[in-house]
């Protein structure tokens, strides 16, 4: 399938906007992958026991990992006197930095309770920066549930980092979004082969590799949930390259072509660099498309990856989306995606009980949903894919296109296997 395929798209599809119980994570959850990506960073949530419990529960899979995140738990006396809370927080940070001399970046992460009591973390960050900079950079952002949904935590984190990036007058390319190292390396290799130089990544693996930004900077997003980060970069004078997101063969192709075009790479070079991995991606996806073709797909809102993934599953795997839910629909970033997405129901926000009613009525072949809903839906006879795996697994670019398709085909194959065994 190519970009030339005529499609009606979802650009003008009315969006069902819902406001009720939202069965989603808050932005703190992003810490689980961000702390692995930034190897010299520590994330200190200023919050309640609930925040600590969320991180521990959502991070169940990473439970053996050396924790580079923690929660400064607010106690009753902190609520009584805010001045004391600031002092207490600084004391906890001092102890942490003394114990962990390897830390180069410290993120003070606001939570629901710290936002409600209006604890000013930027003030604390400023004071700590004055004391510990430049060897330790202290940032602050909010991952609170009253302000952020799941992946928006990464957006808030990266946006905070953009404000602290050094200025440059040189032309450079910034690839934005936390990618697994292996994927980052693949991306850099493709760009280098096309002759694109001066490429850096946000976030970088270590503070010492932080990118620079200026009026000659061009940037491109790898994740669809980075709207605030994009705005922050534009405010620093950088120019955004518009493309669909690099999921699947088509998405990767469009994404790379947009970068190539912006850098004056010839079509010939582009073709020669991408032909082989493209063919591999097509082959790998085809194996799974057999399982997925003509199956209906229902996506509960979770990570904001829903629209790009529905586009991939529909156009490259032949699935039939019946509802694509997203916590937020950011039209500015989603336009190229919506143009490619076959007509379907789009929903934004959530009223989980009403959405479950619609889901039951549609009885889709595959349901993408959060961990709270997956087993109950399986028990009711639906094949499900946990959405959180989509942010924990390398899924971007050509070489992962097959793995991405496999995440969706596996529940269907498994179900068939178990049913076959039961007969």
């Amino acid at each position: 399938m190519s970009l030339d395929t005529p499609t009606t798209g979802c650009l003008h599809t009315p969006v069902l906007r819902e406001r009720g119980q939202r069965e989603v994570f808050c932005g703190l959850t992003g810490i689980i992958w961000l702390h692995r990506k930034m190897q010299d960073a520590f994330f200190l949530v200023v919050g309640s026991r609930t925040c600590a419990h969320l991180l521990q529960s959502a991070a169940g899979v990473m439970i053996f990992a050396e924790p580079r995140f923690g929660t400064a738990i607010l106690e009753e006396k902190d609520l009584a006197g805010l001045a004391d809370a600031h002092v207490e927080l600084e004391r906890e940070v001092e102890r942490l930095l003394a114990r962990r001399p390897d830390i180069r970046q410290l993120f003070l992460v606001g939570s629901c309770p710290s936002e409600v009591i209006k604890l000013d973390l930027s003030r604390t960050a400023e004071r700590l920066n004055a004391r510990h900079g430049p060897s330790v950079r202290v940032y602050n952002y909010s991952g609170s549930g009253i302000e952020t949904t799941f992946t928006q935590g990464e957006d808030a984190c990266l946006a905070a980092m953009v404000r602290g990036l050094d200025e440059t007058a040189d032309a450079n390319l910034l690839v934005v979004g936390a990618l697994p190292d292996v994927v980052e390396d693949q991306c850099l290799s493709l760009l280098t082969q096309m002759g694109i130089r001066n490429v850096s990544f946000l976030p970088s693996r270590r503070a010492s590799g932080a990118p620079k930004v200026g009026p000659k900077t061009r940037f491109i997003l790898t994740q669809p949930f980075l709207a605030d980060t994009a705005h922050a970069l534009e405010r620093r004078g950088a120019e955004r390259i518009t493309a669909v997101f690099p999921f699947g063969e088509e998405g990767t192709n469009d994404w790379l072509r947009a970068v190539a075009k912006a850098h004056g790479v010839t079509l010939e070079t582009f073709e020669s660099v991408t032909a082989a991995p493209r063919a591999r991606a097509r082959k790998a996806v085809a194996a799974h498309a057999e399982t997925l073709r003509d199956k209906t797909l229902f996506m509960f809102p979770d990570s904001q990856l829903e629209i790009p993934l529905a586009r991939f599953l529909a156009r490259e795997c032949g699935m039939l989306p019946v509802e694509v839910g997203t916590p937020y629909l950011h039209r500015g970033l989603m336009e190229p995606e919506l143009a490619l997405l076959p007509t379907t129901v789009l929903s934004e926000g959530q009223d989980v009980d009403l959405q479950l009613d619609r889901h039951a009525a549609l009885n889709p072949d595959l349901t993408v949903c959060g961990l709270g809903l997956a087993n109950p839906l399986e028990a009711a006879g639906h094949a499900t894919k946990w959405a959180i795996e989509l942010v924990f697994t390398p899924v971007h670019f050509y070489e992962q296109a097959g793995d991405l398709a496999a995440l969706f085909s596996r529940p269907l194959r498994r179900r068939a296997l178990l049913q076959g065994a039961a007969e």
């Binding site: 009720g20 119980q21 939202r22 069965e23 989603v24 994570f25 808050c26 932005g27 959850t29 309640s48 026991r49 609930t50 600590a52 419990h53 969320l54 521990q56 529960s57 959502a58 169940g60 439970i63 053996f64 050396e66 924790p67 995140f69 923690g70 929660t71 400064a72 738990i73 607010l74 106690e75 009753e76 902190d78 609520l79 809370a85 927080l89 004391r91 906890e92 102890r95 942490l96 114990r99 962990r100 629901c112 309770p113 409600v116 009591i117 609170s144 549930g145 009253i146 302000e147 949904t149 009980d353 959060g370 961990l371 709270g372 809903l373 997956a374 087993n375 109950p376 399986e378 028990a379």
Partner: protein, 516 residues
């Protein structure tokens, strides 16, 4: 403000969720921001429940804070009732909603819902999960229990089991079986699997069996005071405690204490010769107070281990825990900071840890065998098979699950004899496990202050002492799981004797000195 990396208990509203989710036909309306819904996955993923927890979260956002979160709460409560038609509802606030002070109880009462609505007041910034569960069960019991006649036949209630409890499902089944054998009917088992209608007739039982004081003691005390129901104090974990429990129950019910023990295999498994190698194995025990105290008794009296550390994370039970620890000549460790627990484990150098999922992580890092005896637990602690901790079958289960992580008896001798052997070398670990144990790493990150001091002290001691090469080589021949202890004992012995050069002789003199 207190820095926490991992926590033993969740916030109190998660305790309330454990009660609501364990029960049937109850609905919990929780005033909470989006994100707090993560708690659903504890039940659907970790416990593999096939239904969503019966909880409606209001999921307010920042924009609602300036507007009207009270109306949002009322709307959520009304639509939850309309949709789920519960026999009773509980309403409350999570930590963030506690700060905005909307009074869920008062708001719900203005709705005039046609079912009992029980308000919860759980202080999120000072209390924790077990308190939340205990308080919620008490609130439901107070609101619902009706005065009624005792049942004609002798009967009891079983109190304390909740959703997400460690083996609660199987414990209730095992104790029900035992009581039935004794001719005692179970009137109501609650909260797990009970309905609000069931709670109404709690006072019909002749007495109460309290299995989990952490989550059921307040209700048991209230029922005693209000409805004159005595309650059992013995927790039937282990063969001896189960026998004591039977005697206590028999006295309350006025029935015979003769119970068939033909399926109790643990005492013979423990007496049989292969178990000789278990004698004096050093075990460190940590968990909730009830499970940890019971485990210490079983470990020392029924399996013949040496208890070298004992503690709990729930401060509410510090007093009985301190008393229990004294029996083993120990100072109880009362802490909810897992770094403190890790430091205490390093200091005690145990061969086996009986703990929670936190201690399992610690054990893995240190390369020490471990079995789980208490919440908090993870998905692997909800087995498909029947696996109680309580009663006679529970005693059998304890023997199996605690012994399994260890090297088998004869194998331990082979490892000691052929320590340089390519197969029976000392880092090979138990042959019935796929993975290979990693020897203890003495220095860990992040290092807690206590551990740092301990390690520094050990270092200072080691600097003052000098191991002669022969002695160092000899030390390496000691199996890895006791090597750290042997090194420490030898150094301690040498320091006491004023010896600065440690030779092979010093090593064996120390060995003889500390011989069990």
């Amino acid at each position: 403000m207190k820095l926490t990396l991992w926590t033993y208990e969740g916030p109190p509203h998660v305790g309330a969720m454990r009660v609501a989710t364990g029960m049937r036909s109850v609905h919990y309306v929780l005033h909470a921001p989006q994100g707090d819904t993560y708690a659903d996955l504890l039940f659907t993923m970790i416990e593999r429940r096939n239904h969503r927890p019966p909880v409606t979260f209001t999921t307010f956002q920042a924009s609602d804070l300036g507007a009207d979160t009270a109306t949002l709460f009322k709307r959520a409560a009304q639509s939850a009732f309309d949709r789920f038609q519960p026999q009773a509802m509980i309403v409350g606030a999570s930590c963030t909603a506690e700060l905005i002070q909307d009074d869920p109880g008062g708001l719900a009462s203005t709705l005039g819902l046609p079912c009992p609505v029980v308000p919860l007041d759980l202080p999120s910034y000072s209390r924790k999960e077990n308190f939340g569960a205990d308080e919620t069960f008490l609130a439901l019991t107070r609101a619902l229990a009706q005065p009624c006649d005792r049942t004609a036949e002798v009967s009891c209630n079983i109190l304390g089991a909740t959703a997400l409890g460690f083996r609660h499902r199987d414990d209730v089944a095992e104790i029900t079986k035992l009581l039935t054998q004794m001719g005692i009917a179970v009137n109501v088992a609650a909260p797990l699997d009970a309905t609000p209608e069931d709670l109404k007739r709690l006072p019909a039982a002749h007495f109460n069996v309290l299995l989990y004081p952490e989550t059921g003691e307040s209700a048991a005390r209230w029922l005693e005071k209000t409805h004159a129901q005595p309650w059992t104090k013995t927790i039937p974990i282990g063969a001896e405690a189960t026998r004591e429990f039977i005697i206590e129950v028999a006295a309350l019910a006025n029935v015979s204490a003769q119970v068939d023990e033909k399926n109790l295999r643990q005492p013979w498994w423990s007496a049989s010769v292969d178990s000789t190698y278990l004698t004096g194995k050093r075990v460190f025990i940590f968990g909730d107070a009830t499970h940890a105290i019971a485990a210490a008794r079983v470990a020392s009296k029924e399996i013949g281990f040496e208890v070298v550390g004992l503690g709990c994370y729930n401060r509410e039970f510090a007093r009985p825990m301190r008393a229990a620890a004294k029996d083993y000549g120990l100072e109880a460790l009362i802490s909810d900071d897992y770094l403190d627990v890790e430091a205490a484990i390093i200091a005690a150098a145990p061969e086996l840890i009986l703990g929670t999922q936190m201690e399992r992580h610690i054990a893995k890092r240190l390369g020490i065998a471990c079995a789980v005896i208490s919440a908090p637990v993870h998905v692997q602690d909800f087995p498909a098979r029947y696996s109680p901790q309580m009663g006679f079958e529970g005693a059998n289960v304890l023997f199996d699950t605690w012994i399994h992580p260890l090297v088998m008896g004869l194998e331990e001798h082979l490892l000691t004899m052929f320590r340089e052997d390519f197969e029976f070398h000392d880092a090979a670990g138990p042959s019935h496990h796929g993975g290979k144990a990693t020897p203890a790493q003495p220095i860990l990150e992040p290092t807690p202050d206590a551990a740092t001091q301990m390690i520094e002290a050990a270092q200072a001691l080691a600097d003052a002492l000098h191991w002669l090469p022969d002695a160092e080589r000899e030390l390496k021949k000691i199996p890895f799981f006791v090597r750290a202890k042997a090194r420490r004992n030898t150094e301690k012995y040498a320091a006491e004797k004023g010896v600065t050069q440690i030779s092979i002789e010093t090593l064996y003199e120390a060995k003889a000195h500390y011989a069990r």
